[in-house]
Amino acid sequence: MKHSIYILFLFVCIASNAQTNVLQRIPDIDSTFSAELTGEFFFESKQYIGEQYFNNDWWDGDVLLSSGQRVNGKLLKYNGLFDELIWLNNSNYGKFKLDKLSVDEFWMRKKTGDTIHFKRINVGDTTSIHRMGIYTEVMVTGTLSLCIQRKISAVGYEDEYKNKVLGRYYNLKSKPLYYIKLPENQYLLINKLSNTSFLKLFPDKKDALSKIIRDNHFNAKNENEFVKLIELINREGVF
């Protein structure tokens, strides 16, 4: 009994002392040095069938701003339908679409601990939607880099009654786009993965690339194998 009282008392002392120190000696140290995220209130439309997000849960993430400053520990979701990074502001529980021009890169940590790295790239398309660049998942970096836009598209619609109200609901489908960055900083786009579509991009290296695919039994239709193929091409020094 005595021992329990001692231990309890000690814990109370430790806790109270620790708290006073933190409160008094480090005034808002985080807010002093960290940059602010800027964005627009995001209204989440429910008129979709399927998921508009790459990650349905809020993942803890870090954002590298175009100013070079890094903002850590924010709850993030990537919206593949609008190609926007959504931030859940803990202080007011508002969802905000981060200003695209202010974000260069971001990292999101899955619950399993794996980190997913996204980067905003300018793919040379000057139409209004792509003027600010697109967010792509960075899969391979090297002589050839592979970035995947986790695009979600509306494919058809269904008119349905929900809560006794007739509404139009769009079907969403994941349609990733594959961007291969060449050593000369140009991007090549593959809409649909296949060995043929990949080889067509590099007619002058066709033989060497075909040999690698053949020797390693790669099937570029599979995303994982395609990633491995690009990694191997980098290792082999084809480019």
Binding site: N21, F33, E36, T38, F41, D99, L101, S102
Partner: protein, 575 residues
């Protein structure tokens, strides 16, 4: 009873352990400073060249924590005469301070410190006395610090490990001097000064003596709050208080912006002690800062009190005595040399130091497309009320209790937002819409509008209206009682020491008189490599001192001195 005794004992032990930990925490990361100046006596109008060493208080090694150092020059009445901020990189910073012609003759105190030195108390600040003589002072009846007469160690050559070797003890005017520091078994960075030996007494402490002295735990008044290390730049610190009761206000949002063509914002929230701090990046250098408190409740007067980073609470109370030593002739000579050099503009070709990096990122309020309106494209309108009615269809201004309120249509709801949008005038967030009401199309160059609700960090704004005027009208507006404007001085970049070029020596018709022959604030010593430097003597015939101060990579202080004479044999023979 026994139990109570035991509990009491445990509390006592625990408390002492925690106190010890607190002291250790306070010392951890704390720094001390050392300031090596080119000389100890100056004529007003000359520059003080200096090198600032910021060292870890425990290891005495160069500290990589602080990026800003502070130097204050104050009078015997403890009045600050000059205050500068110095950029520090890996524990080293250097620059120069131009002494205004108007400074009175007398002794002055040089104080140097970093923000973390404040956690140790002011007695840990580096202090050094210098003498400044006005160029036009003929009476020369100023007093000197009595301790300087007793303990004038400037003339002592302490037992230095560092060897300075020169080719000969006597040189001719305009002759090259090569100084060799020899080989070292470590890397180091030193500052070197070659100057005419002054006759004015002064206390001089080497870097080793000073850092050993400052690192000793002193019974000085410790600060009430913790000073954050300025690892990324200057930290602006202040408190928010109720101006009537002087009670501190916690959780108040302090907003900072400055005049720019881009709306910019930073903010901080006051802590439990009413303290806020804002990191000032290079962007704010040399700009006027506009600070205000967000959402001050009506009929309450809150006030921002900014902390003066140069303020010294401890007074300097030197005991002064009239010095009877024969130094007046030397001062007159120094005054004449400065006068001659100024007349012939001999010092004018000093180059500006690497114009401290201009990498300055504007803390933009938004980074998205905005609707931009140029009022000059429309019929002239007398004020913003008219502008809102005629050319801003989604903006309305309503009057409530003699105060105007701006409302903007939200792009999602298509209704006027209840809350006011963020209003920027010339890049500065203004707390009162009345400041823009009087502005007409003749004053306004550009209006930018965002209709959506926006987040800036944890702050939410119902859209934004940014007005850019032709003549920075924000400067003519009167700040509210809860706002404050303050000038953020530039970081001292100083000027480079003007090294003598061989061509100068050939110009026999030009005077070439120097009391400071050489100043190099950053001479790198590389392990097992001979280190040397060279300079030219001038026509000023005198005894000179070579003074080296520095710190090795492992924290060992380096100090060395040597002397030589410059004489003109022909003239001496004639005498």
């Amino acid at each position: 009873m026994h139990l109570i005794k035991r509990i009491f004992l445990i509390i006592l032990i625990f408390h002492s352990v925690l106190t010890n930990c607190n002291i250790h925490a306070q010392t951890k990361g704390a720094e001390i400073a050392y300031l090596h100046t080119d000389r100890t006596a100056y004529i007003a109008g000359e520059s003080i060249y200096f090198k600032l060493y910021v060292l870890d208080v425990v290891t005495k090694q160069r500290s990589d924590i602080s990026k800003v150092g502070y130097v204050v020059i104050r009078t015997v009445n403890s009045e600050p005469s000059l205050k500068i901020r110095v950029k520090v990189d890996a524990g080293l910073g250097y620059g120069s301070i131009l002494l205004p012609d108007t400074l009175q003759s007398g002794v002055y105190q040089l104080i140097a410190y970093s923000n973390t030195t404040k956690n140790l108390g002011e007695s840990h600040f580096f202090r050094k006395q210098i003498t400044i003589v006005n160029r036009y002072d003929k009476a020369l009846d100023f007093k000197v610090v009595s301790s300087a007469i007793k303990d004038s160690s400037l003339y002592k050559i302490s037992g230095d490990a560092t060897q300075i070797s020169i080719e000969k003890p006597i040189y001719l005017p305009r002759e090259k001097v090569i100084v060799r520091l020899g080989k070292f078994d470590f890397n180091a960075n030193v500052s070197v000064s070659v100057f005419e030996m002054p006759n004015i007494p002064s206390v001089y402490k080497t870097i080793g003596e000073s850092s050993a002295d400052l690192a000793v735990n002193k019974t000085s008044k410790k600060p009430q709050t913790y000073y954050s290390p300025e690892t990324k730049g200057k930290i602006l610190r202040g408190t928010v208080v109720d101006s009537k009761t002087q009670q501190i206000v916690k959780d108040a949002v302090v907003l900072l912006s400055c005049v720019d063509s881009i709306p910019n914002l930073r903010y901080a929230v006051t802590n439990s002690k009413g303290v806020f701090q804002l990191l000032l990046s290079n962007y704010y250098n040399g700009k006027e800062l506009y600070l205000t408190i967000r959402d001050v409740p009506e009929s309450i007067n809150w006030q921002i009190k900014l902390e003066n980073e140069f303020a010294q609470s401890e007074k300097w109370l030197p005991s002064l005595v009239a010095y009877t030593g024969n130094f007046k002739d030397d001062i007159v000579k120094s005054q004449n040399i400065v006068y001659i050099n100024k007349s012939f503009q001999a010092e004018q070709n000093q180059t500006d130091k690497h114009n401290s990096e201009r990498e300055s990122i504007c803390p933009r309020f938004y980074n998205c497309p905005v609707e931009t309106i140029f009022p000059s494209n429309f019929t002239p309108l007398p004020d913003f009320l008219e502008i809102a009615v005629e050319i801003l269809p989604r903006v309305r201004i309503v009057k409530e209790n003699d105060n105007y309120k701006v409302q903007i249509v939200n792009n999602l709801t298509n209704e006027y937002s209840k809350n006011s949008p963020a209003i920027f005038l010339d890049g500065v967030l203004v707390d009162d819409v009345n400041k823009i009401i009087q502005l007409g199309t003749e004053e306004i160059r550009k209006i930018e509008i965002i209709e959506s609700e926006r987040a800036f960090g944890d702050l939410i704004f119902s859209g934004m209206i940014s007005i850019t005027t032709y003549k920075n009208e924000i400067e003519n507006t009167r700040p509210a009682s809860h706002s404050v404007r303050v000038m953020n001085d530039n970081v001292n970049s100083g000027v480079n020491f003007n090294f003598t070029k061989p061509a100068t020596l050939q110009q026999r018709n030009m005077p070439f008189l120097k009391q400071l022959l050489y100043w190099n604030p950053s001479l790198e010593i590389t392990e097992n490599t001979d280190t040397s430097f060279e300079f030219y003597t001038s026509d000023n015939l005198a005894e000179y001192m070579i003074k080296v101060e520095g710190i090795s990579s492992n924290g060992n202080p380096i100090s060395a001195t040597a002397r030589f004479q410059v004489t003109n044999p022909v003239k001496n023979t004639a005498k």
